[in-house]
């Protein structure tokens, strides 16, 4: 323990606990609100746990909207998007490392520029493009961003992690006559596994929560992903909170689960070992 720690320890712990609790409150109220009996009169005082606890809202949510179908759709879209995104991002990130020089500077610059363009700014032309290609009302527009690695940020993340590998490693591999692809597969990827997990998690969160693009590109309710299902639920009755929140819990549980399983790779190591592959 460093000498300074005693001084900080005093107020850090209570502050950290208070903030952690504050950040958990939205999630807490999501779950507790979903467990209220639909149609019961509003409580008169704030309640952390509803009385009585009821799961009727979940039954109603699945009845009103085909949430099971939407969940399946979301899973399928994510199953297509996430591996493709990880593949594209890691390949591109590794290629960044290999090209070197001015080409690399250009690629990094382009990625940064693309990172700065918000999706809303590209919605109209992308829609026009997909419509022209006859891809509206398919999942293609939802999976297509995986070609960008879902976000240029993930490409850069892979590039930064690969750059931290000892250069002698790649030089040795080159002397052994390994091709770029086999270096990527047999050297680079096994060494940055925590980064791969982090990117897969982030890509899953992004794909799973994506609302804007399905909203614009999908019209057939059979193709709807979960966020659109929630939107339909809201459109049916904006005031039936337990049912809305039950839907929210269904949509949130998988990402929270994935996050809790994978977060140790980039939050718990000191000096952020996993995050940047150090």
């Amino acid at each position: 323990m460093r000498a300074g720690d005693r001084r900080w320890g005093g107020w850090r712990l209570p502050a950290a606990i208070a903030l952690a609790v504050a950040f958990l409150l939205p999630l807490w109220f999501m779950v507790s609100g979903s467990l209220r009996e639909p149609g019961t009169p509003p409580p008169r005082a704030p309640e952390l746990v509803p009385r009585p606890i009821s799961t009727t809202s979940y039954d109603q949510a699945f009845d009103l909207v085909d949430l099971a179908r939407h969940t399946l759709n979301s899973l399928l879209v994510a199953a297509l998007t996430v591996p493709l995104a990880v593949l594209v991002a890691s390949l591109a990130g590794f290629a960044f490392l290999l090209v070197g020089g001015r080409a690399r500077a250009l690629l990094v610059g382009l990625s940064f520029a693309a990172l700065m363009v918000p999706v809303t700014a590209l919605l109209v032309p992308r829609f026009t493009l997909y419509r022209w290609l006859g891809l509206i009302d398919t999942w293609v527009p939802l999976v297509a961003p995986a070609l960008l690695g879902l976000s240029p940020f993930y490409v850069l993340l892979f590039y930064w992690s690969f750059r931290r590998l000892p250069p002698e490693l790649l030089e040795a591999a080159r002397l052994e006559g390994m091709t770029p692809l086999s270096m990527w597969r047999r050297l680079a990827m096994p060494l940055v596994r925590p980064v791969t997990i982090a990117v897969a998690l982030l890509a899953f969160i992004a794909s799973w929560g994506n609302f804007l693009e399905p909203l614009v590109y999908l019209f057939d309710p059979d193709l709807y992903t979960l966020p659109l299902g929630l939107r339909s639920l809201e459109a049916l009755d904006r005031t039936n909170y337990p049912v809305l929140l039950a839907g929210a819990v269904v949509a949130t549980a998988p990402v929270v689960l994935a996050f809790v399983i994978a977060q140790r790779y980039f939050l718990h190591e000191d000096r952020g070992a996993g995050w940047l592959g150090r």
Partner: protein
């Protein structure tokens, strides 16, 4: 300027003991070099003196003050780090001024003292530049100036020369001695490099596994090592160690002891014991002759034998050291 003393200092990190009861004194105005292999606790020792680590047991005194529980800033010491720890966003001038500025010294004083410190280390030429524009040696000078500028009671130097290339290191070593003479402050200098320790220190302290093995002038420590570790750690190549059996052709020593003889004390001589030359390494003016009797001899390169040659070797009884086999302590004979 003050003496600096550690009394029975212990420091543990979890299960590992970094300092195991260290008693050590740097006299007023002395340059004390603490030397030891990596992991011997020498950096921890320095960080404890500075107050960056809290000691578990023992006392630390600077001058007449007991500082064991004081916070780092109250101890009035300054430190030069192995990585120099220069602020990348500040110019050389602002780096040197840092300690004075955070203590809110008047601008005039800051300017004077910065100029004075920069002159002492020869950094006047690049005061407006930033750390990343400097060479290793120049960074080293800036780090030294920053330590000097506050006129602390003691200077702590943590392997300050280890990141420099060989040539610059030798040059900075000389500069450091000159600087110490001009400033006249108490300095504690930590290194793993025994040559640096022997050439730089007024006195040196050899540290191993969290204990001080020996303190003394470089001469004393080199020519009269208190234990086998100190004997083997100082000197190139390392001291030869012979069991009673291996030593028998040369000299009889008691059981349960070992004999230490420095390579330069092993002579090729006509009346010696026969031995065969396995290997010869030439290091400039000297040659290291590896013999089949677990012996290395250091001889002038000009008079070196050929590899595979049969030679005769011997040494003076007076040049040999005797150590207890179990404890490693020196035995007089």
């Amino acid at each position: 300027m003050s003496r600096l003393a550690l009394e029975g200092v212990r420091k543990r990190f979890g299960d590992t003991t970094a300092l195991d009861g260290v008693d050590l004194e740097a006299r007023d105005g002395e340059l004390l070099v603490v030397v030891g292999p990596s992991g011997c606790g020498k950096s921890t020792l320095l960080r404890c003196i500075a107050g960056l680590e809290a000691v578990d047991e023992g006392a630390i005194r600077i001058g007449e003050r007991e500082v064991t529980r004081m916070k780092p800033a109250a101890r009035n010491v300054s430190m030069v780090f192995q990585s120099y720890a220069l602020f990348p966003h500040l110019t050389v001038r602002d780096n040197i001024a840092f300690g004075l500025v955070v203590r809110e010294e008047p601008k005039r004083v800051v300017a004077e003292r910065v100029a004075e410190a920069a002159k002492l280390v020869g950094a006047e030429g690049f005061l407006q530049r930033r750390p990343y524009e400097l060479s290793g040696g120049e960074r080293q000078r800036v780090a030294l100036a920053r330590a000097l500028v506050r006129r602390p009671d003691a200077f702590l130097l943590d392997e300050p020369l280890s990141n420099l290339d060989a040539g610059t290191r030798v040059q900075m070593r000389t500069e450091l001695r000159r600087l110490h003479r001009e400033v006249g402050s108490t300095m504690v200098h930590v290194t793993h490099d025994q040559v640096e320790a022997l050439t730089l220190g007024d006195r040196i302290a050899v540290l191993d596994a969290g204990r001080v093995r020996q303190v003394g002038t470089p001469d004393e420590v080199y020519s009269r090592p208190d234990d086998l570790f100190v004997g083997r750690f100082l000197g190139t190549p390392a001291m030869n160690v012979l069991t009673p059996q291996a030593a028998r052709p040369f000299v009889a020593i008691p059981e349960q002891t070992v004999l230490g003889i420095r390579p330069e004390d092993v002579r090729l001589t006509a009346d010696g014991v026969p031995a065969r030359v396995d290997l010869v390494e030439v290091a400039g003016s000297d040659a290291y002759v590896f013999l089949d009797r677990d012996l290395v001899a250091r001889v002038p390169a000009a008079g070196r034998p050929a590899e595979g040659a049969e030679v005769r070797v011997g040494f003076d009884r007076g040049a040999a050291h005797l150590f207890d086999e179990a404890s490693g302590r020196r035995v007089e004979w």
